[in-house]
């Protein structure tokens, strides 16, 4: 199969409320920076465009249609959309390149979550007969997952606090982070519980924003003369929708996806994990078998800012940044969807 590379990645600043900015206005500046980085004029200069968004974040159907207005799609372009995190839009784009129908693609994800009550909005992705009518918010589900781990002695509250502390400190060097600071585990543990056993700091913030990536065949990347990182593997897996039938203390689908993405074939210098809750980072780290040689979430991860529908794509972009920045040779990016890590996508990136 063709080698495919990432050549550009941009993200907007994570903000809790983007205010008077609509979807197009959220996307345009990010795309402009992406085009500059990839030395492209517009979306006309790539062969395929794919995006990820969710209508319910802002409460209006066809959110992605507004996104097309940011592309300069005249003359018409080859374009598609997933109602998922844009990391799956990247997956779709990779298939398009592998089948020979494109040599390059622009992928973007965006979400303005601030207008709604996100944890309650997300309750409506649960079983529509048994769970959605109870309005079980996403944070409560994660809290039950955390307690399972605490009860079984798989983690301690201090382990969770350490995840938060590292995220805040790492985020200090991430200009787009929403939450950053020199926060110690003790500082976190001193906080009262929010949705017990979770503290507020264990939960990602709600953010508005967008991110974008440009991928291309390695031949094209070379032709463009751009620094790039190779996508050496990508795979995703979903699990049963019945939370009671899953082992919530583990992430089987993440492990399966990592295996199919070939993660085990080499050292992992950096990992960006889409863990909206601190204990989930530990689940993922263990499921992926990551050890001390791996720098986890150097960007701060989504605890530093969670751009719904873009965060998964951003994880891939952040690993790309570490590789082209010379800090890492090989890295893994993880994306999740659904409650308590139900659906997981793993991407392996390598230095060219």
């Amino acid at each position: 199969m063709k080698d495919i590379a990432i050549v550009a990645y941009q993200q907007s600043d994570g903000v809790s409320d983007a205010g008077a900015v609509n979807e197009v206005e959220l996307i345009m500046p990010v795309l402009e920076r992406t085009f500059t980085q990839a030395r492209l004029g517009s979306a006309q200069d790539v062969d395929f465009v794919c995006s990820g968004s969710c209508d319910y974040l802002q409460g209006a159907a066809f959110a992605f249609v507004a996104g097309v207005d940011a592309l300069g799609a005249v003359p018409p372009i080859k374009e598609s959309h997933v109602e998922m995190d844009a990391a799956w839009a990247l997956y779709e784009s990779i298939l398009k390149i592998r089948m020979g129908h494109a040599e390059s693609a622009l992928i973007y994800g965006f979400g303005k979550s601030s207008p709604g009550e996100l944890p309650i909005v997300l309750s409506q992705q649960l079983d529509p007969y048994y769970l959605a009518p109870q309005w079980i918010d996403s944070i409560s589900l994660a809290a039950m997952q955390a307690r399972l781990m605490l009860d079984q002695g798989l983690i301690t509250e201090r382990d969770m606090a350490e995840v938060v502390s590292r995220s805040r400190r790492n985020a200090m060097s991430n200009p787009h982070a929403q939450l950053a600071g020199d926060v110690s585990p003790e500082d976190v543990l001193a906080q009262a519980t929010y949705l017990s056993p979770l503290r507020k700091a264990d939960c990602c913030p709600v953010s508005d924003g967008a991110s974008a990536v440009v991928i291309a065949t390695v031949e094209k990347a070379r032709e463009w003369g751009l620094p790039y990182a190779i996508i050496s593997g990508i795979d995703h897996r979903i699990e049963t929708h019945n939370l009671g039938m899953r082992d919530l203390t583990d992430s089987v689908s993440t492990r399966t996806a990592a295996k199919h993405a070939g993660m085990q074939d080499g050292r992992v210098d950096v990992a960006e994990l889409y863990a909206p809750f601190s204990h989930q980072e530990i689940i993922l780290t263990r499921a992926l078998g990551l050890g001390a040689e791996t720098s986890i979430n150097p960007s701060g991860g989504v605890l530093a800012g969670n751009l719904m529908m873009a965060s998964g794509l951003s994880r891939i972009g952040e690993v790309f940044n570490r590789i082209v920045g010379g800090e890492a040779q090989r890295g893994v990016a993880h994306t999740t969807s659904g409650p308590c890590l139900q659906h997981n996508l793993v991407t392996v990136l390598e230095k060219a």
């Binding site: 008077a20 197009v24 206005e25 345009m28 802002q58 300069g72 799609a73």
Partner: protein
């Protein structure tokens, strides 16, 4: 079988979500001008760039922001229309009513609005219309400040000129 014993086959699931909608920057500028009784459009900051009204933030053909504001006339031309015979859910307007795609003088794109004070059977493509505004004290951040458009006594605009008139209308 008594009602109690009947098997459940259908349930009602109320799904009500609350949002705090924020207009985008470009629409907010447009709406602020409407509140003052002015119809505006926006375009890329280039002399020949097309004028969009209502603006949504980008010039969709180019994907660039519409950074320049342009004042429009409240006279417009019928680009096309439909006569609606069924009620719109949640709207008080009684059918049949005319919903027209109108291009304001000075703009290059149509918006939809009501046409009234007219014989529905005489509405036609190229027809000239003008806004009928609500009383000033009722003006809000809304296109509904214009109650509807009504025909005016001006010659029809040839089809190839629709969407290309300047703010001074057919004279310009």
């Amino acid at each position: 079988m008594s009602e109690e014993q009947e098997v459940v086959t259908v349930v009602n699931a109320p799904v009500y979500l609350q949002y705090n909608f924020t207009a985008g920057a470009a629409p907010a500028r447009f709406l602020a001008q409407l509140k003052k009784g002015k119809l505006t459009g926006q375009r890329r900051a280039e002399p020949e760039a097309p004028v969009y009204s209502p603006p949504r933030g980008s010039c969709p053909a180019s994907g660039r922001p519409t950074e320049q504001e342009v004042e429009l006339s409240d006279k417009a031309t019928v680009q096309s229309f439909t006569i609606v015979y069924i009620p719109i859910p949640g709207n008080v307007i009684e059918p049949p009513f005319v919903v027209a795609n109108l291009v304001a003088d000075g703009a290059n794109i149509s918006f939809i609005h009501l046409m009234s004070d007219c014989d529905n059977s005489e509405v036609h493509i190229g027809q000239r219309v003008q806004a009928v505004w609500k009383p000033e004290e009722e003006w809000d951040y809304s296109m509904d400040n214009i109650k509807y458009f009504k025909p005016i006594d001006e010659p029809d605009v040839p089809v190839e000129k629709i969407g290309k008139l300047s703010v001074t209308g057919q004279e310009g």
